[in-house]
């Protein structure tokens, strides 16, 4: 950090770095940030680059994370504001509801032929993959977290409600309709599985 705190410029206040401890995906992440640093930048700076920045003004939703279970725009939250909250990012998503029908079936390098995979995908991730809900993948983590929050909060949301909530994020490649279909498929599958 280059700020000295002794500068004379009246409009550039001292920006003394502070140390923040964040609870991210059930692990402790300690970072030293200026108070003005956003949560998105702090997470990315800590190596959690799955939280992406598409606009940094709160519209596109690429930076969506869960803060105490609620989807928020990490580009609009300061890192210091997230102290004391439970943060979930896309990196913490694999492993969620990963084996509803049997083990081994959802290995990332199985049918998908992916070299060096091995991550277990959650049911939401699998529904995105199988439903063509992503192309370039840049918006995907944000949509996954938004969907995750919605499915947990309102498991029985109507089709209109799902469309409504998911249209708060932008997907340039697919337009978002296949993402709505994928989330609807998760709703149906979870209902059938009785969960």
């Amino acid at each position: 950090m280059n700020e000295t705190g002794s500068r004379q410029d009246p409009w550039l206040p001292p920006l003394d770095p502070v140390t923040v401890e964040l609870d991210v995906n059930d692990s402790l992440v300690t970072c030293t940030v200026e108070p003005r640093r956003t949560l998105a930048d702090a997470l990315r700076g800590a190596g959690l680059t799955g939280t992406r920045l598409g606009c940094e003004h709160g519209v596109c939703g690429a930076c969506t994370v869960l803060l105490d279970g609620r989807p928020v725009r990490a580009c609009l939250v300061l890192a210091v504001q997230a102290r004391g909250s439970r943060i979930r990012t896309v990196e913490g998503l694999s492993g969620e509801r990963e084996e509803p029908t049997g083990p081994g079936e959802y290995e990332g390098n199985g049918e998908n032929g992916e070299p060096g995979g091995g991550a277990r995908l959650s049911d939401v991730q699998r529904a995105f993959r199988d439903g063509g809900a992503l192309q370039c993948g840049f918006c995907t983590p944000g949509f996954l977290m938004l969907a995750q929050g919605l499915l947990a909060d309102e498991p029985d949301a109507s089709a209109e409600r799902v469309t409504d909530v998911l249209s708060s994020n932008i997907c340039r490649c697919t337009g978002g309709v296949p993402i709505v279909s994928a989330v609807r498929a998760v709703q149906r599958a979870r209902k059938e599985a009785g969960s």
């Binding site: 598409g54 990196e91 296949p178």
Partner: protein, 761 residues
């Protein structure tokens, strides 16, 4: 998978998807190099002016700032044009310098570059660079730029135009004199662009010891970027390495060489530190290529029974303030697509690039063809209304019949104009397929039902042709390894298209090996010596055929080793076996090499069909059904191609209804955030019906045609025609996009536009 089952034609799951789903995928902004520093571009706040003074002292004094560069620090270089046929005698003096030299010509033009230890500091320091600009008069629109006494943007162009592309076919005057009906209209497509969700980003590192420069993030036309940078930075191209990483959508704008593609490596070489740049969204809206802004004066001559005789298209295409790496394509591509899929006796097209004090333009998915299709298909619907003919019937009577293939208009050859030649396909049958499969009859019945219930509802159609397979060539190498795997190297790019999956399918079939054993490597310019990149729906076609040839070459080399014909050798778990039983380790074989040349581009057919309703009170348009059809020649991976078509159509609906890059009279951009530039979301879009037809072309061994843009091309036209149909004859005709609620209310309010003229000779 049984390796005897062909992979081509199956919807093999796309590769690498898990990295995207888990957040592991690394895009440019996710990359870091030890010791890296960050840049911020200082941009012009004015649309036109002379730089009187540039004071960098205060910025330099900020702790953490390493350097501030202005044009004086740079060699006098320009970003070159990338395609030979898009370069004319007029373009060289109109090319953009990486930093403005003396004059600024659009808001957002780079004037200085700040380098700092931290991105936040770089941004702070950029605010401290004091740019003193003396205002010049602004040519904020094409009308202003071409008016008498307009302010001149560049010394070399007294009338603010670039080049005019003229196409002539047949005797236009004679055809018009025989016409029963002539329809004229001025049609305007608005400025909008690709807006991928990931902004641009670059990371450059220079190693003084080896003299090697590496640039991460440049994609789409890596090999050209390498050559251009090599020349501009005074390194040979062999000392520049361009590495593609994951990209968040390309759609034509990403990966072209931009000013920043020079500035970032330049700073890395000067400072001897890795340099990173991530564009922010507000910058993206003024810095990355804009597109689409054009005006077309269309005039059609027809007989009373609906036979098309001839047309004239006088087009003005906004180039913005400079000619960028795509040269005159903004004016050339619409000219090539004006005629479309119809059998005209004669036509005359003149398409002029106009310089304005706005962000320069380039190509956006379906470039030129989307604009030309909008203008032509809108004019055809006006003609259909005039003749009292069903719009589908008018098209049906005039589509080029299959028996006429291959078909060419007898326009004289010109150096900068590729021939308009349709190689193969059955336009009428494909068109009927769309009408049947999407249920044109049912849609028109649905329209009547909606109308009876008091709604404004309309159906719109738009057939088109799309250029693809732009050469000149691609190369590929196929290597076998002893562990039974194969590596394919090619010069195209992925750009989030799933191309690597499709190319692996082609290689697997050509080698008769399982798809899983093939990996495709194209991320790096060192992987293959030459390549032209991912544009104009060319990747699968050119690289695919090159790979098929390389695989054949590898089989021939194997046969030389183990005997027999190339068709008889078999690869089996790292061993190659000849028909006589002789074997050799596969890894010992030299790489197979293939090169596929495509001197002339091809064209393919498609069409879009839309059913919309309009809320008479608010002017809001809702697309209820939207169908797109395209002739892909041969679908290597049907699911992936359908996803591409549906995604492109969704973008087209956004372009028709929502998106616009608005400027004020002083050339100030008003759409610099997602609050002002409205992007379509799930709530604005229907599920897209996609129909893929396959009429393989004889001009390449795999029979492929391009498809990456096709869902786009007819979509704005079909939506516009549907809205016009919904508004009815009492409203003003739809002559410009986007059809925002405000613009639609205007149309509903007014008497027919004074511009619209229908002449009965």
């Amino acid at each position: 998978m049984n390796h005897r089952t062909p992979s081509v034609g199956t919807s093999t799951p796309r590769r690498g998807v898990d990295d995207l789903l888990t957040g592991r995928a690394r895009y440019a902004a996710d990359l870091d190099r030890p010791g890296q520093v960050h840049v911020r571009v200082v941009r012009s706040p004015l649309a036109h002016g002379r730089i009187a003074a540039l004071d960098t002292a205060e910025a330099l004094a900020l702790p953490g700032v390493l350097a501030v560069y202005t044009a004086d620090d740079l060699p006098d270089v320009r970003i070159p044009v990338r395609l030979p046929f898009a370069e004319t005698a007029e373009t060289p003096p109109l090319l953009q310098p990486p930093l403005a030299r003396g004059t600024v010509r659009y808001v957002g033009e780079p004037v200085a570059l700040v380098v700092a230890e931290d991105p936040y500091t770089a941004e702070d320091a950029a605010e401290l660079v004091d740019v003193d600009i003396d205002d010049l008069d602004v040519a904020a629109t094409m009308a202003a730029a071409t008016a008498e006494g307009a302010p001149r943007l560049h010394e070399s162009s007294p009338d603010n135009t670039v080049s005019t592309v003229s196409l002539r076919h047949g005797d236009v005057e004679a055809a018009f004199s025989r016409a029963d009906v002539v329809v004229r209209e001025r049609l305007t497509m608005h400025r909008h662009t690709a807006v991928p969700m990931e902004t641009r980003g670059l990371l450059a590192e220079y190693e003084p010891a080896t003299g090697l420069l590496t640039l991460w993030g440049g994609a789409k036309v890596k090999h050209f970027t390498r050559q251009a940078l090599g020349a501009m930075l005074g390194l040979g191209p062999e000392r520049v390495r361009v590495v593609e990483v994951h990209v968040g959508g390309g759609f034509g704008v990403r990966g072209e060489p931009y000013p920043e593609d020079f500035l970032v490596p330049f700073a890395a070489m000067r400072l001897g530190r890795p340099v990173k740049w991530t564009e922010d969204r507000a910058e993206h809206f003024v810095a990355t290529n804009h597109a689409r802004e054009q005006e077309h004066e269309w005039e059609i001559a027809a007989t009373s029974d609906g036979r098309l005789l001839a047309f004239r298209d006088r087009a003005w295409c906004d180039q913005g303030a400079y000619v960028r790496s795509q040269g005159i394509l903004p004016g050339l591509l619409p000219a090539l697509h004006a005629a479309g899929p119809y059998r005209w006796e004669a036509f005359a097209v003149d398409s002029t690039g106009v310089l304005t004090n706005r962000t320069p333009t380039g190509t956006y998915r379906g470039p030129g063809m989307t604009e030309a299709t909008f203008a032509r298909e809108r004019a055809l619907d006006l003609l259909a209304a005039e003749l009292g003919l069903d719009p589908a019937e008018l098209r049906r009577r005039n589509l080029i019949p299959a028996a006429a293939m291959p078909f060419a208009f007898d326009a004289p050859e010109q150096p900068h104009v590729p021939p308009v030649r349709y190689e193969s396909g059955d336009f009428p049958a494909s068109f009927e397929t769309l009408l049947d499969a999407a249920g044109y009859e049912a849609l028109t019945r649905e329209r009547q039902r909606l109308r009876r219930s008091g709604r404004l509802a309309g159906v719109g159609l738009a057939p088109y042709v799309e250029i693809g397979a732009v050469g000149p060539f691609e190369e590929a190498f196929v290597e076998a390894a002893d562990d039974g795997t194969f590596t394919v190297r090619t010069g195209v790019s992925s750009l989030g298209q799933g191309v690597e999956t499709v190319l692996a399918q082609i290689a697997a079939d050509a080698l008769s090996v399982p798809f899983e054993d093939v990996t495709v490597d194209f991320s790096d310019t060192t992987a293959v010596p030459m390549g032209f990149g991912a544009f104009a729906s060319r990747s699968t076609l050119l690289a695919g055929n090159a790979i098929a040839l390389a695989a054949r070459d590898l089989l021939a080399k194997a046969a030389a080793e183990v005997g027999g014909d190339p068709g008889e050798v078999r690869f089996d778990r790292g061993t190659v076996r000849g028909p006589g039983g002789a074997t050799a380790p596969a890894g010992r074989l030299p790489a197979g090499h293939g090169r596929f040349d495509k001197p002339h581009p091809g064209f393919s057919f498609g069409a879009a069909l839309s059913l919309v309703t309009v809320d008479a009170a608010t002017g809001a348009v809702r697309v209820l059904r939207h169908a797109v059809l395209h002739d892909v020649g041969r679908a290597v991976n049907p699911e992936l191609v359908r996803g591409q078509l549906a995604g492109a159509a969704s973008q087209g609906i956004g372009g028709a209804l929502l998106e616009e890059l608005v400027y004020d009279e002083q050339g100030q951009p008003l759409s610099t955030s997602f609050g002002d530039y409205l992007m379509p979301t799930a709530a604005d879009l229907p599920e897209i019906d996609v129909f893929v037809v396959e009429y393989p072309t004889p001009t390449n061994p795999l029979g492929l045609k391009g498809a990456g843009e096709s869902g786009m091309v007819g979509t704005p036209a079909a939506v516009a025609n549907a809205v016009a149909d919904a508004l009815g004859a009492a409203a003003r005709p739809v002559t410009r996009l986007p059809l925002t609620p405000g613009n639609v209310r205007e149309l509903l309010r007014g008497t027919p536009s004074p511009q619209a003229t229908t002449v009965h000779p």
